[in-house]
């Protein structure tokens, strides 16, 4: 790494990590009941630190009301954390997809993974299981993501070899088919407005009423996906040089591709499972990161995770505060913020390139 690249990387994290903390605190503070940061800090202290310690420093327990605890700890913090984890997961899976397909426009939907996850979630709603507890929707959508991947991969593999072009075609075709099934289910259930509304909202993505359960359902899988992605980061760099070159430099191409595809399915599946369909994060964040920090995946993957977390916390904050008391759906906001930002980045990039 050149000294200039190292400086850029240092600058990136020294700006983004504090921004992430500030955004999280602000997001917890803002809402129908605004809360000052001191209250947030006090609630966190009561929840996280042993009470003997707090008593020892003369902490006033009566300053933390039950309402504060409810709003901060039960309602807002899980939501912000889920936003962060989902953003990290989607951005990382987007970065992996773009490396795998050697195409900056690749996104998790391309291998049928996104549509598969959506169908899983919608199945949970229309069967009524989704209404009974919080678990069926996320679990079925994770299962849907993995099932879609296995199906698409099996269809495009001949004699242990999976050409990326075939994978892409099979993925897009299956994706359209699966989306059509989802639409069909929605159409059949549109008479039951309760279910239809839930499905539509879920498909637009959103983080309303997310709980600690959702966080714990999603975070371990995103963590797993991040680790697996980081361990394959060099393989991914080499795959970007073309499969033949990667093989000649010592990459076991087919097994590397399988590991990366499963990683994408885990990341996307667990993100969609708790947030519904949130688009644009996986496209926008890695692209911005690559423009700033270069293409090496050992840099791009963790930086995308941090950037994605920040981006989704901010988008969710906007979604729930811009038009009270109605919440705008998160997927709508990511596309509305993301689209123009993306275009500005691209234009700037090409202007610099042409100078």
């Amino acid at each position: 790494m050149t000294s200039r690249a190292r400086l850029r990387l240092g600058l990136f994290y020294s700006l983004l990590l504090p921004a992430l903390v500030v955004a999280a605190v602000v997001a917890v503070g803002i809402g129908s009941t605004p809360l000052p940061w001191q209250t947030i800090l006090r609630v966190c202290a009561v929840k996280l630190l042993p009470h003997q310690w707090l008593a020892a420093i003369g902490f006033d327990f009566s300053s933390v009301t039950a309402t504060d605890q409810l709003v901060v700890w039960i309602i807002r913090i899980p939501r912000v954390l889920v936003a962060a984890v989902v953003g990290a997961g989607l951005a990382t899976s987007g970065a992996i997809m773009q490396g795998l397909f050697r195409n900056p426009l690749a996104e998790p939907g391309l291998m049928g993974i996104g549509p598969g996850a959506a169908l899983g979630g919608v199945l949970a709603f229309v069967t009524g299981w989704g209404a009974k507890s919080v678990l069926p929707v996320p679990l079925l959508s994770m299962a849907g993501a993995l099932a879609a991947l296995v199906l698409v991969y099996a269809m495009s593999t001949r004699g242990g070899v999976t050409p990326m072009s075939t994978l892409l075609l099979a993925g897009v075709a299956s994706g359209s088919f699966v989306s059509a099934v989802t639409s069909l289910l929605l159409t059949l259930n549109v008479a039951n407005w309760q279910i239809a509304q839930e499905v539509i909202f879920w498909m637009m993505g959103g983080l309303d009423a997310r709980t600690w359960t959702h966080f714990w359902l999603c975070a371990p899988f995103v963590g797993l996906g991040l680790c697996s992605g980081l361990l394959s980061a060099r393989d991914l760099d080499l795959l970007m040089q073309g499969e033949e070159t990667a093989a000649s430099l010592g990459v076991d191409v087919e097994s590397a591709k399988r590991v990366l595809a499963v990683t994408v399915a885990i990341l996307t599946g667990s993100a969609v499972a708790v947030a519904g369909m949130v688009g644009f994060v996986g496209l926008l964040v890695p692209h911005a990161v690559r423009l700033l920090l270069g293409p090496s995946h050992r840099v791009v993957l963790p930086a995308s995770a941090v950037g994605g977390a920040l981006f989704l916390i901010v988008c969710d904050l906007v979604a729930r505060t811009i038009h009270p008391p109605t919440e705008i759906r998160l997927g709508v906001i990511t596309a509305l913020c993301g689209g123009p930002f993306f275009i500005v980045l691209l234009l700037r990039h090409y202007r610099e390139a042409s100078l």
């Binding site: 040089q241 070159t245 093989a247 010592g250 990459v251 270069g294």
Partner: protein
Amino acid sequence: MRLEAAGISVDRGGRRILNSASLKLEPGKFTAIIGPNGSGKSTLLRALAGLWPVSGGRVLLDNRPLRQLSRREIARHVAFVPQDTRIDFAFTVAELVSMGRHSHRGRFSSETAADRRAVDAALERCDVAHLRDRAANELSGGERQRVLLARSLAAQPDIVLLDEPTASLDIEHALDILELCRELARDGHAVGVALHDLNAVVRYADVVCLIDAGRVAGVGAVPEVLQPEAIRRVFGVEATPVAGADGVHHFVFERLDRHDMRH
């Protein structure tokens, strides 16, 4: 180390494109692989590098079947530089060349001193050290070819295979690459290069392997194999040897029909 194709056949898409071809690449020798377009030069190189499976015969690395070795193990000994030198992404030259160390690195380990030394040596050797912080997708064709050769040398291979490395280069850069291959052979590498320029073969290669329609039509020392008669049979052109100032013969080529008309 030596790399040997022992009667290998390669099928692609139901068609046999290489038919029981045998060739030994010996340490210290520059072996040129020549033949018309589509005769199977690139296929032979890919089979030798273990990148394409063989349907008959065996590729042997120091008498061990290549098939039994992992990709990593092969990559530590056999380097392959493809003809297509396009680089799409803005990796720096140093990043690109250090990718050559992949087969020596563990999944969890970071760059070691040995990695850095190998990368520096490869950059030096291919005369691209001054480009190390440049974005590789902004280099010229000659620079790109040298950078990609440096990447494969960073793996410290014993055998270096190049597929038409001079195809898209101007004469100066083509000579640079050929000189470099010559030097690699002199240092004890087994070098196998697919080439179109027969005069370059005469000047630089020790051994030549002539391929015609998927079969080896001749293999041996350059003066023995590169006879006007063999060139006429395989390439369909008349080759007239001309003695150069330094005593080395080179060829002047003419199409057969014109040649016949004159006589």
